[in-house]
């Protein structure tokens, strides 16, 4: 029987590989974490270093309408091959999140693939995103093309590389990215 002190690997640890995209679109610290399942499905989440998750900030609104013509809420897939899902490239915006201090952040796809679903629970309960960003507060689920399932991680960092990036930041600045608009 496992002891309480030994941390049992979570569901995420057991089935997903963590990949990271740091400083998305050049914006400091806007880090995303992509959870890649062994069946190639990817879950897009905020990395723990993302500004939204720092210092007890609160969310004012989450908007999946990214442009006049496009809302991620309208995404509908059907059938086994998930026809109809919006096809995303790495820099496709998924949603815009505005915090109570009126700073707006855009969350991006980070990988190429077909959008399967966005998390509508965080619209009703934004705290989910703050409290459980890696599980119930996920942003979206994306299905890469079969032939691209290995190459999508080419531009992404491993967990170890991500931790190196983060530790370099704290070494350079005592309070990184907090007040960045």
């Amino acid at each position: 029987m496992e002891e309480a002190e030994k941390k049992a690997p979570s569901v995420t640890d057991r089935y997903y590989t963590r990949w990271y995209k740091t400083d998305m679109k050049g914006k400091p610290c806007e880090d995303h974490c992509i959870l890649q399942h062994s069946n190639r499905i990817c879950v897009i989440t905020l990395a723990e270093s993302h500004p939204i998750l720092q210092n007890g900030r609160k969310i004012k609104s989450i908007n999946y309408r990214i442009s006049d013509g496009c809302s991620r809420l309208n995404n509908k897939v059907s059938g086994k091959s998930k026809r109809g899902g919006q096809f995303l490239t790495e820099f496709a915006p998924l949603c815009r999140i505005t915090c109570t201090d009126n700073i707006e952040y855009t969350i991006f796809s980070c990988i190429r693939g077909r959008l399967l679903e966005v998390n509508e629970d965080i619209l009703k309960q934004p705290d989910l995103l703050l409290e459980k960003p890696s599980t119930e507060g996920y942003i979206a689920v994306i299905l890469p093309k079969l032939e691209e399932s290995k190459s999508i991680t080419n531009g992404l960092l491993t967990r170890q590389q991500y931790e190196e990036v983060v530790s370099k930041r704290t070494a350079q600045q005592p309070k990184p990215c907090r007040d960045q608009p």
Partner: protein, 486 residues
């Protein structure tokens, strides 16, 4: 024995002129339908009949279009160039012997040479030939009672074959021998189907033929063009009807998939339940292959305990098919001795419908499970009390992410009928569940990113995970019947 009548003789004449062999003439005149198989002698008898009849009406054969047939028989006659004038009529009387040497337009030689004794060593009961369907259809529209080529073929040779093999010939036999013929020269006939009715051509060719209206066949030359060569026989194949065997299996390993786990041609994990059961059966029944079907399935890392999961297996072309009760029990022991990862019980030979019944009512069944749960927060015994009070809990499960790559995205409503918990330590307990079939237990426990609601994490107000899962009592299915344990 022979029922060719005088009124048949104009038809007989037309058929002979079109290039039919004598057996086909008899077929089109429906001889032999109500009688015993036409005796080979009747072939000669019909020839003599024809020559007599011909003698009587040497001048009366100049009719071009409709002959006066009784209403039940109609022949579609085209203004075919094949000699219908008086001159060939007269000469036809003398060319009868030659009819045999030409290849029959209707059966492409199947009912001519291939019915001889020399060929019978290879043939037997079942016969299938597609091309001949078109040729027959065009030669006699609206005529349902013409003897089919395959029936005439069977009648002609089955007696001889039965004698050769020393076995009786039965219409419903477990052992079938297939004889095929090909005729490359007339493959173009099939293209005719594609042009007239491209919709029905795709599924199977046979369906295309029956779906076409009779009028379409007006475009097909009648009588058909005489073939230059007879058809060639393909290899004769023998097939024994499948044997069906059923039972229940237990799976004791957490590293065994139910069916072979292969990705991109690469085997990801050795062995499978299906192969462990099939291998001894394939060798005992000396079968060519198998189809495995079961009432539900379990993940690689899930054990199947309790009564076991019902399964059925079709053994293809078994060379040995008869096993008595003791021999089947012996087979069960062989399977159980071959591996400690599975166990089989209630092994029995069943009928074909057992396969279909495996999947019956999968949605309505109740399943029982046992799970080992880990909790993030420390728990006491009383923290688990509420679990026993939960009855008929409705949950909504979005397609779990772990299967979403091969299943449609949907929300499934399922019911957890009841649960009970046994405390183990501050971070572990055992959970028993009775749920509706089709419930994803693992996702109910950890929540699958919140996509299964409600879930055990929410109910326990703690992150929880499932460490082990066992299937307990399995689905009740009428077959296989439980046999007394040895």
């Amino acid at each position: 024995m022979l029922s060719l009548k005088e009124k048949d003789s104009p038809i007989v004449r037309k058929l002979l002129d079109a290039g039919c062999c004598a057996r086909c003439v008899l077929r089109f005149c429906c001889v032999g339908v109500t009688l015993h198989p036409p005796h080979p002698l009747s072939f000669k008898y019909s020839l003599s009949f024809l020559s007599e009849a011909d003698g009587e009406q040497s001048h009366g054969a100049a009719e071009q279009t409709q002959t006066e047939d009784p209403p039940c028989k109609k022949l579609k006659l085209d203004s075919a160039p094949v000699g219908q004038d008086g001159s060939s009529e007269a000469s036809a009387a003398h060319t009868e012997p030659n009819v045999q040497s030409e290849i029959c337009v209707a059966c492409l030689g199947v009912l001519q040479d291939f019915c001889d004794l020399s060929y019978t060593k290879q043939y037997s009961i079942m016969f299938y030939c597609f091309l001949l369907c078109i040729r027959e259809k065009s030669m006699c529209l609206d005529k349902e009672d013409v003897v089919q080529v395959k029936d005439a073929f069977k009648w002609a040779i089955q007696g001889m074959v039965g004698k050769e093999l020393g076995t009786p010939v039965l219409t419903n036999s477990l052992f079938e021998v297939s004889v095929g013929f090909t005729h490359p020269e007339t493959e173009a006939d099939c293209h005719f189907l594609a042009t007239t009715c491209s919709d029905c051509f795709k599924p199977t060719k046979n369906k295309a033929v029956s779906a076409l209206w009779c009028s379409h066949f007006l475009h097909y030359p009648c009588p058909p063009v005489r073939p230059a060569s007879k058809c060639t026989p393909l290899d004769t194949t023998c097939l024994h009807t499948s044997v069906f065997i059923a039972g229940r299996y237990n799976k004791f390993s957490r590293e065994l998939p139910q069916t072979p786990w292969v990705i991109d041609g690469e085997r990801r994990m050795e062995g499978s339940v299906e192969e462990l059961i099939a291998d001894p059966l394939l060798s005992s029944f000396r079968a060519d292959g198998f189809n495995f079907s079961s009432s539900g399935r379990e993940d690689v890392d899930v054990r199947t305990l309790g009564n076991g999961r019902p399964f059925a297996m079709e053994l293809l072309n078994p060379h040995r098919a008869k096993f008595n009760g003791a021999e089947v029990r012996q087979l069960q022991e062989v399977i159980n001795a071959s591996s400690d990862k599975i166990r089989v019980r209630d092994l029995q030979i069943v009928t074909r419908d057992a396969m279909g019944r495996m999947k019956e009512g999968e949605e309505e069944k109740t399943k029982s499970y046992s799970a080992l749960i880990w909790t993030k927060k420390a728990i006491t015994n009383s923290d688990l009390d509420f679990i026993a009070n939960i009855k008929e809990l409705k949950i909504d499960q979005k397609t779990p992410l772990r299967v979403l790559h091969r299943r449609p995205l949907a929300v499934r409503q399922r019911v957890i009928h009841s649960m009970s918990a046994s405390y183990l330590d501050t971070h572990h307990f055992r959970l028993q569940l009775h749920t509706q079939a089709g419930t994803y237990i693992k996702e109910f426990v950890h929540g699958d990113f919140g996509r299964t609601k409600p879930n055990l994490c929410a109910l326990m107000e703690s992150e929880v995970d499932i460490l082990e899962l066992d299937v307990e009592d399995s689905v009740y299915v009428p077959l296989p019947t439980t046999l007394d344990d040895l």
